[in-house]
């Protein structure tokens, strides 16, 4: 039965079926992370609105639904919402800081049969994590949540944004995930805020740190670089706006949570109408080659994200300055490895 997955994937892409959607339930949060990209307007969706969105997404073809915030467990009706979405046959994942998961609600979370729970951990020790998230005692609660989830046999992973503030603990973070017995996702991308401000970029790793990170993490396991070397003309295709979408806590539809270009609002126009008629999406789906990047010597190493290009450089279809920096680092690593061989 699995052998036809590649055909189904091609169908999904060709027909632009949004199989994978991130739904921002709330922007309220009990933490104040220094690198957070979110608006601070406390917007959130009501249960009635979530039901409406669920109906629209089922009709549009969505299967995988990820709930994010803010902090989703600050919503008093979070469990009613989750049970409703599961009964609506979505494969449900949640992203949370874990501080509100405890012994008294872990049984309910277990009953949700979640696909995945991602817990943000921003340091290997309490001092670092608590400083980054602006809340003393948060680390202990988040680590406790990971243990509770793991013990309840709920798939959980540790998610970390690697930045200036925690780079020194990079290896210890991996060790921590290993000790907890959970997979980890360490991402060195700090995004500009959704309101366009770039103050948070001061937390980004410098080129030397990026070099160390990619050399350690990517060189051994990343097939991307090999693929790109084999086919340097490979386009910059991205699932955003094709098989992936995002809906904000105000009901605004974006191609991706990292590409906050408003396409419409689900409370004004049905999701399917927005998804099928957006001129921006048509351009995003068709324009997989970026003219400005076409003759770039770093094209083979480029992992350009249209969202970061949009947020940071003002044009989703133009050059992404952070992608240029990353590509230069990739190239340096590959050249060094070639010399070593």
């Amino acid at each position: 039965m699995q052998t036809i997955w590649s055909k189904v994937k091609a169908d999904l892409k060709q027909k632009a079926i949004p199989i994978d959607v991130v739904l921002e339930l709330t922007r309220k949060c009990n933490l104040s992370c220094c690198h957070c990209y979110n608006f601070k307007d406390n917007a959130e969706l009501s249960f009635v609105q979530v039901k409406d969105i669920a109906r629209q997404l089922r009709q549009a073809g969505t299967l995988f639904l990820s709930l994010t915030g803010g902090e989703i467990f600050t919503k008093a009706d979070i469990f009613e919402i989750c049970f409703y979405l599961r009964q609506s046959c979505f494969a449900l994942s949640i992203f949370t800081n874990g501080t509100l998961i405890n012994q008294s609600n872990i049984k309910i979370i277990r009953e949700l049969d979640l696909n995945e729970v991602g817990i943000s951990i921003q340091g290997a020790i309490a001092k670092t994590h608590d400083k980054i998230v602006g809340c003393q005692g948060a680390f202990a609660k988040s680590i406790n949540a990971i243990k509770l989830l793991k013990n309840a046999q709920i798939p959980v992973n540790l998610k970390c944004t690697l930045m200036q503030d925690n780079f020194a603990e990079y290896h210890d973070l991996i060790k921590l995930a290993s000790e907890l017995g959970v997979p980890y996702i360490i991402d060195p991308v700090v995004s500009p805020k959704d309101d366009g401000s770039k103050d948070v970029l001061a937390h980004r790793l410098d080129e030397k740190q990026l070099f160390d990170f990619y050399q350690n993490e990517l060189l051994e396991q990343n097939s991307f670089m090999q693929k790109k070397e084999e086919d340097p003309d490979a386009d910059f295709s991205c699932p955003a706006g094709t098989v992936m979408a995002s809906i904000s806590a105000k009901g605004d539809v974006y191609p991706c949570i990292q590409l906050p270009k408003k396409l419409g609002n689900v409370f004004d126009t049905d999701f399917r109408g927005i998804w099928e008629n957006s001129k921006f999406l048509t351009e995003l789906r068709e324009k997989t080659n970026i003219p400005a990047c076409r003759n770039c010597r770093l094209a083979a190493y480029c992992t350009r994200c249209p969202g970061l290009a949009y947020l940071e450089d003002g044009n989703a279809f133009g050059i992404s300055s952070i992608a240029c920096i990353n590509a230069a680092v990739y190239e340096k690593i590959v050249k060094q490895e070639t010399l070593n061989k």
Binding site: M1, Q2, I4, W5, V8, D11, L12, K15, I17, I19, R58, G61, T62, L63, R86, C89, F90, A91, L92, D113, N115, E116, P155
Partner: protein
């Protein structure tokens, strides 16, 4: 298989119809399965629990194949779905 009383979907499975196929994710294993063509149709028909014989009757009406072959194929398919926790067979 002939003694099967009721076949029911795993009501905890997540699923979505994509054109003629149905993608099913089982809650116990978190594995993704794709039910093509007739498989997807069987999933649709099982929206309401039914017996093996009822299911065979409905498929025989819709598909042009010898009855013995439909029965054999459906029995094998139901066994596979049951092993993968996609459906539950009550004997």
């Amino acid at each position: 298989m002939e003694s099967v009383k009721t076949i029911i979907r795993n009501n905890k499975a997540a699923w979505q119809q994509v054109e003629d196929n149905v993608i099913v994710v089982t809650s116990q294993t978190r594995k993704m399965h794709i039910l093509e063509g007739v498989g997807g149709r069987i999933w649709q028909l099982l929206e309401n629990p039914m017996s093996r014989n009822e299911l065979i009757e409905k498929i025989q009406i819709e598909y042009d194949a010898p009855p013995w072959q439909i029965q054999e194929d459906i029995d094998n398919f139901l066994k596979e779905l049951s092993e993968k926790l996609i459906i539950k067979i009550n004997g």
